[in-house]
């Protein structure tokens, strides 16, 4: 069964990362890279991707003539998707375990972020 693990944050939260030291950023990235390697080795890795900064996000609606109406204003509290992992696992519990590993990646200063990771199953394929 496939699950997507979603890392989210507010615009202000994301901007606070800019204050991290290079060493802390490297330690954080190294932990996540190690996890990707583990998941690849276990055959559970499907995909991972990071998204650009929330300040670049656009909200698009289609008008009657099909022309896109573009807006870049979001509520302050909006949780933006920062990145995701897609894993193919035997059980939801395993997906939660992997999410906990992402949550435990080091923060600025080396302590675990303990950030919440949203875990969602993919819809079963439509027939």
């Amino acid at each position: 069964m496939k699950y997507i693990l979603l890392m989210t944050g507010t615009k202000a939260g994301v901007e606070s990362y800019h204050a991290w030291s290079r060493k802390d950023v490297e330690a954080h990235m190294a932990a996540l890279l190690r996890l990707s390697k583990e998941l690849t080795a276990s055959g559970e890795f499907v995909a991972t991707q990071g998204l650009s900064e929330p300040s670049e996000a656009k909200l698009v609606r289609g008008e009657k003539d099909g022309i896109p109406v573009t807006d870049g204003v979001f509520p302050e509290a909006k949780e933006f998707l920062l990145g995701y992992w897609i894993v193919d696992v035997e059980s939801p519990e395993r997906a939660y375990q992997i999410a906990a590993k992402i949550s435990a990646a080091p923060d600025a200063g080396g302590v675990p972020t303990n950030m919440p990771i949203e875990v969602r199953r993919f819809a079963t394929p439509r027939t």
Binding site: I4, K64, P68, A100, S103, E118, V119
Partner: protein, 130 residues
């Protein structure tokens, strides 16, 4: 350049299944046609639908590294319902595609005009960070 187009839903329980069957079929047919067109133009990278938000879990690591699982979300939380990743020549093309998805038919065949969040997908981190 790669863009992710996200369809978000506001609340648990406001799912598509409450629609009349005919409208639901028209909506799915539209989405399938859209995916087929993107595949043919070579712009489709990935597309997925997610299971309903009532199954969503929030997971944190405890001090021992074990998962702490929670299923309670704020009422105002937006849930990701599904997404497309497209590889396009310009942001404008991504917005045009998002506008098409936004106009997918809803109840009675009327365009939903739902907002689609469009975000550029980052390239891999620079090699010196790995």
């Amino acid at each position: 350049m790669k863009y992710m187009m996200m369809m978000n839903t506001m609340k648990v329980g406001q799912g598509v299944p409450a629609w009349p069957k005919k409208d639901l079929q028209a909506h799915i047919a539209f989405m399938r046609k859209f995916a087929k067109e993107l595949a043919e133009s070579g712009e489709l990278v990935a597309a997925e639908g997610l299971a309903f938000p009532d199954q969503a879990k929030l997971v944190r690591a405890g001090k021992d590294g074990l998962p702490i699982t929670d299923g309670v979300f704020p009422e105002s939380k937006e849930f990701l319902a599904g997404y497309w990743i497209v590889d396009v020549d310009s942001p404008e093309r991504a917005y045009a595609l998002a506008a098409r998805v936004s106009a997918a038919p809803g109840i009675g065949g009327e365009p939903l005009n739902m907002p689609i969040e469009v975000r550029q997908v980052m390239s891999a981190p620079p090699p010196e960070m790995l």
